[in-house]
Subunit: 329 residues, 2 copies
């Protein structure tokens, strides 16, 4: 009698992460272990049909070399999208994907059931099932990179809302009379504290203070990024310090609003902003606690996401592993 290798006895899924820059796929176990993966550039200019052809090629390669039986496929993709009908609805990072039947096309090409979720929700599921959200019933995932997004785990389940867009936490309005945002809002958290907007505010501060280290770190002010702010902060530049202090207040207002709205156990923060490490988490925890009702703030944990580069694949895997499959064809 021979014993099959462990992974052949357990449940595995094919996970596909469709981004505007890269396409990634992987074979993931039910406990979130990434067994095999591959990534290729998206080349958005090719349009959805040719891109999906290459996704199918990548997927078949991984399925072919997997020793495990794969029963399901999970996909994470930038929204807006319709999870129930399996359509991609013209996301800004995927031009031309207008009501594109992604689930149908992957199902036809692979012969497996396919589940779809937007990337922020998928990442929230990955952190909840495999990462920094394990053991909770209520977890809010906040990703702060180019933009700010979120995903909500409430009573142990992903909460999607009416259109499947709940958790757009970048558009919490933290200054009612603040500057206009693309969304139509004013004073949106994303308009102040996304990586892009931290960089924009830093360029403005550097222009006002040409003598500052912040202004002198890059060949031109237009080269300043959020990473430049971190470098200047580490050198105790007062202009960068003041900018970061204000950013922390903006973020604390957003996270305290989340705490009051959701009475969550844990806020998991992912994205490029986690590069700020203790300079982010230590003061943010303190300010959120001070800005919240004690009965709500008690025990709330604010912690970094467990996953960075693989969060897309692990998120797609978590979508596939969810019971029951919410998309059926």
């Amino acid at each position: 009698m021979t014993t099959l290798p462990l992974e052949a006895n357990t449940r595995h899924v094919l996970a596909i992460d469709i981004g505007g820059t890269k396409l990634a796929a992987g074979i993931v176990t039910a406990t979130g272990q990434l067994l095999d993966s591959a990534r290729i550039p998206t080349q958005v200019e090719q349009g959805p049909d040719r891109i999906i052809e290459r996704v199918l090629h990548l997927s078949r390669m991984l399925l072919g070399r997997s020793r495990a039986h794969i029963e399901r496929v999970g996909v994470g993709c930038g929204g807006p999208l319709d999870t129930k009908r399996g359509l991609i609805q013209n996301p800004p990072n995927l031009p031309g994907w207008i009501d594109y039947p992604l689930v149908q096309n992957l199902h036809d090409g692979l012969g497996l059931p396919v589940a779809l979720e937007n990337d922020a929700n998928a990442a929230a599921l990955a952190e909840y099932h495999f990462g920094a959200g394990r053991g909770t019933q209520h977890m809010v995932y906040l990703t702060i990179s180019t933009g700010i997004g979120g995903g909500l785990i409430l009573d142990g389940k992903l909460y999607r809302g009416k259109h499947g867009n709940a958790g757009e936490l970048g558009h919490l309005q933290v200054r009612y009379d603040g500057p206009s945002c693309n969304c139509g809002g004013c004073g949106c958290l994303e308009g102040y504290a996304s990586g892009t907007n931290i960089a924009r505010r830093a360029r403005e501060a550097a222009a006002d203070h040409p003598e500052s280290l912040l202004a002198r770190l890059t060949p031109s002010l237009s080269d300043i990024t959020a990473q430049t702010v971190l470098t200047a902060l580490e050198a105790n530049d007062p202009v960068a310090t003041a900018l970061w202090d204000e950013t922390l207040d903006m973020l604390a207002a957003g996270v305290a609003s989340v705490v009051h709205a959701f009475d969550t156990e844990r806020v998991v923060i992912g994205g490029g902003i986690t590069n700020f490490g203790d300079r982010l988490f230590v003061p943010l925890r303190d300010r959120v606690a001070r800005r919240s009702m004690p009965s709500l703030a008690e025990g709330v944990e604010i912690c970094p996401a467990a996953f960075a580069e693989n969060v897309g694949i692990l998120g797609a895997a978590a979508v596939a592993l969810r019971e029951p499959l919410e998309v059926s064809l």
Copy 2:
């Protein structure tokens, strides 16, 4: 053969509303019809034991004259409270109720199962089951009176969060650098737009503009209330108009944040602010739509609560009618 009257064949509950000013109780049908009710002053200075004695007396009177069989009791009370253990935990409007075993004492006195919920959650359930939230799966209830509170119906169920305090929407922070709030936060919605704070801001505006109608409507500036603002607004007083315009922006920032966080179908607004009628709802709908992502704003309804004075009793009834009873002794 005799036929019992209709109400004897259907499910009825005893509903108890415990407020800082009055105690109310009623017999309510499963469809939210109030068949009988009574109210008496709370007299908070008597302390919990004597007050509950009077609640029991009131309840027995209603039970005695009810022709229907009553199986359950629902209670709404100001928080903080512990719904699972049935304890009242020192609410500001009920001094001395420190871990008071309300559910146990009512159960002992009435011999019926008792369910407890905080008043904002109970009101949300009343609107959801019997009122302005009927037919939705996702409804956010916002009450704007002395303070601002909320209750959340998500995926057809009351969402409570970790400590049972989810939906503290008065503490959405709509100006990250705003004035301090009792909660510890800065720029909380309640600190600007509750009835109390609309009146405070109106007193400040009137002091700056002693020539305004707003300043001349009351014997002294200290007599100005939110109702005075409405009166001055109806007479097109420019100071009141500017104040209300700013208040609408604050409220729109809060409601737009709710829309982005919850992707809700309907926002039901109750409390004294509904006296502003179309002067509230018409511009608020317009501003929230403008301040929200189109994919989220689409179809969101912002409407007045169905219930005003009876919302406490109907809320308590909705708590009792919930299946299964979440408190068991």
